[in-house]
């Protein structure tokens, strides 16, 4: 291991408190700090950081940790955090909690593409119909969708762009790049009092791998609410359930939010004082579906991208590599 860089940290704590510290990038304290940020299970642990070259120390409970700003940037691999999770002795728990995994990309489309997409949505009021879920539960979901949107050129434009990002998104989320069978797209509108309650996007016959929500609204924003809640997850005996805690993502226009489809999430109700359809919170949801059987001929987006197999350079040494090996 190299001597390591000195990392300057500005640590934001609950109730507006903060402290600054400098740690070596190889320091155990640094990994402990990020592990505490990433893992709600460590909420009650005491964290102590050396300040002023060890002459003083800052102590706080992990639950008070809000954010860490580092200079230069610190990129924490999932394995590093997991390793740090074992640095302090604690009881093996059958119940494991973890934070919601998601990524946010602002300015996802270029301005003209974004305007074009929004213009399509606002001009298509008559094509929207009530969104449904299995079992027809209106108390679970109330919003509007255009079922045929996935066949349009607009859908292909955003599908293609998502596919360009896909390998990077998979890497950043710590999931495998998989062979795809479908790139599903849906245009939705949420008007006053419309919502989508807590759910995940996967089901027994629904092999969705990655969910991407692209938000649009006209300026100035004509609604309030409509935020996306991404719930922390409790894993117990092979089953997952949402925790009581969650992260909130504001539906900023031209923003893409990406998360593994198994993450629990919810769209909170929208309130639209004008009642004008054009003031709705519009969204395009893209789902990448895992292929049960790789298909080298399957093309997506504009038709150039063969994503029915995993390219060897994107395959991991474990599962995905075997997939690539079988098909190429």
């Amino acid at each position: 291991m190299s001597a390591g860089r000195e990392i300057r940290l500005r640590i934001q704590l609950a109730e507006g408190h903060s402290c600054e510290a400098t740690l070596n990038e190889n320091a155990v304290e640094l990994r402990t700090l990020y592990a505490a940020l990433a893992m709600p299970t460590r909420a009650n642990e005491l964290i102590q950081l050396p300040l002023d070259g060890g002459k003083s120390a800052c102590s706080f409970r992990a639950a008070q940790l809000v954010s860490i700003v580092s200079e230069p940037p610190v990129v924490v691999e999932a394995s590093t955090v997991e390793a740090a999770d074992h640095l302090t002795p604690r009881q093996e728990a059958a119940v494991r909690s973890r934070r919601a995994r998601y990524l946010v990309i602002d300015d996802f489309l270029c301005p003209l593409e974004h305007q074009d997409m929004l213009a399509l949505a606002t001009a298509s009021e008559k094509n929207f119909e009530a969104g449904t879920v299995d079992g027809d539960q209106p108390e679970h979901r109330q919003n509007l969708v255009i079922p045929t949107f996935g066949d349009s050129a607009h859908a292909r434009l955003i599908q293609n762009r998502v596919l360009v990002w896909y390998p990077l998104l998979a890497k950043a989320l710590g999931v495998d790049v998989v062979a795809l069978s479908m790139v599903e797209a849906q245009l939705t509108a949420a008007r006053s009092r419309q919502f989508y309650k807590l759910h995940s996007d996967v089901g027994p016959d629904c092999p969705r791998e990655l969910s991407c929500i692209y938000y649009m609204h006209r300026q100035p924003r004509g609604f309030v609410g409509g935020e996306l809640r991404l719930y922390d997850c409790v894993e117990e005996e092979g089953q997952s359930r949402p925790a009581d805690t969650f992260e909130v993502v504001d539906p900023v226009s031209n923003r893409l939010v990406v998360f593994p489809s198994g993450e629990f999430h919810e769209a909170v109700p929208v309130r639209c004082p004008s009642g004008d359809f054009a003031d709705s919170r519009f969204a395009i949801t893209i789902w990448l579906h895992r292929a049960a059987t790789p298909d080298p001929e399957a093309c997506f987006g504009w038709g150039h991208f063969r994503c029915g197999v995993v390219a060897p350079q994107l395959a991991r040494a474990d599962g995905a590599a075997r997939t690539a090996g079988r098909t190429r």
Binding site: D107, C110, P111, L168, A172, A311, Q313
Partner: protein, 374 residues
């Protein structure tokens, strides 16, 4: 903060180019950070540099969806990944690996005010999308506004990270489209897809690029540009090829005087300077050791001892190490140090070089010395 960024693979051929660029970066004291993005598979080792920060990124050549082998995919994909993952904020000086610094580029840019080198080769026509000509008619299907005018620019580019972040994915996508759509044409896949895609993506993202004298080709007769690109062969006044990057594999002697004054000679002089220094100093060739701030020097029973901040013990130097330490003043390089010591101790420089280098490296790792480019 200016990030000088270049993208490579881990290919052996990239080694000497990256090393030379790093040397020239340190030599002109270019402000900011030097970043080498390396498109690399999951189990390949990352190359190491003394000054350049190396960041591994997903390989995109061959293209993961089309199989097209086109190294510039790596450039856009690496930048996209680096900007996204590391949340970089500041000015990006985007350069090719086959270039060197002749002078520093110290001016930062604001968002929405990129500067770049002129590229007269961008196709221009009265018709076709983006005024690129009928060959590019296929872009009608993939672009919302084809009336935009792409900037005629190429690398080096000076652009704010927030702007580059906005256009990088589209740049990569357009490159893929341009290559795929021209695959079956009479001229084959578009060689310049990289630059044309960048220009269109910049226009679509509404990021104006002012033309700036940032880079020049070593084949140019005259230029004061701070960066020199050596993609093309350098010829003598009689038209004979004196040096060609395509066949150069690193550290053979070159003769700058065989070329007329100008960018080509400047480049060859730099290459020869580094080659000569490298030959006598390996990795420390272009570094000048100086005592780290806060180190205190004392003498105990005729022995030189160092008190190093952050260490509880003192470091005792033997007579040889003390002689080397005394010459580490930030003005001398390894070759100068070795020569002076060889004279003093009446030994051949070649005999002493390795010992001197090892002592300097140990003093650096102990925290007593900083090695600065110069």
């Amino acid at each position: 903060m200016i990030f000088t960024v270049f993208s490579t693979t881990a290919n052996e051929a990239m080694l000497w180019q990256s090393e030379l660029l790093e040397y020239s970066w340190g030599r002109v004291k270019q402000p900011g950070e030097l970043v080498r993005l390396v498109a690399i598979g999951p189990h390949q080792p990352l190359p190491r540099h003394r000054f350049a920060r190396v960041s591994g990124t997903l390989p995109w050549s061959p293209h993961p969806y089309t199989g097209d082998v086109y190294p510039p995919y790596n450039k856009a994909a690496s930048l996209l990944e680096w900007l996204f993952v590391e949340r970089i904020e500041g000015t990006i000086l985007l350069v090719e690996p086959d270039c060197v610094f002749r002078a520093p580029v110290a001016q930062e840019v604001e968002p929405g005010a990129a500067r770049a080198t002129a590229w007269p080769s961008l196709p221009r026509a009265a018709e076709g999308p983006f005024g690129l000509g009928p060959r590019f008619a296929f872009l009608e299907r993939f672009c919302v506004n084809r009336a935009l005018e792409p900037p005629c620019v190429t690398w080096p580019v000076l652009i704010h990270s927030s702007d580059l972040r906005k256009l990088a994915a589209r740049w990569l996508e357009l490159m893929s489209i341009l290559r795929a759509e021209t695959a079956h044409g009479a001229d084959g896949r578009l060689d310049d897809a990289d630059q044309i895609a960048y220009a269109i993506a910049a226009a679509e993202a509404d990021i104006p690029h002012a033309i700036a004298d940032l880079g020049a080709d070593t084949a140019a007769r005259q230029s004061e540009a701070p960066l020199l690109q050596y993609r093309r062969a350098i010829e003598s006044a009689r038209g004979e090829v004196v040096w060609d990057a395509g066949v150069y594999s690193g550290w053979d002697t070159v003769d700058p005087q065989a070329v007329a004054p100008g960018p080509g000679r400047d480049f060859l002089a730099l290459l020869e300077e580094y080659r000569a220094r490298r030959a006598v100093g390996g990795a420390l060739a272009f570094l000048r050791p100086r005592p780290r701030v806060g180190v205190r020097v004392g003498r105990v029973l005729d022995q030189t001892v160092l008190e190093i901040p952050g260490r509880s013990d003192t470091l005792a130097l033997n007579a040889s190490a003390a002689a080397i330490w005394e010459l580490c003043d930030g003005a001398r390089g390894l070759a100068d140090l070795t020569q002076e010591l060889a004279t003093r101790f009446e030994l051949a420089p070649d005999v002493m070089r390795l010992d001197v280098q090892q002592v300097i490296e140990r003093l650096e790792s102990a925290g007593a010395l900083d090695l600065e480019p110069g």
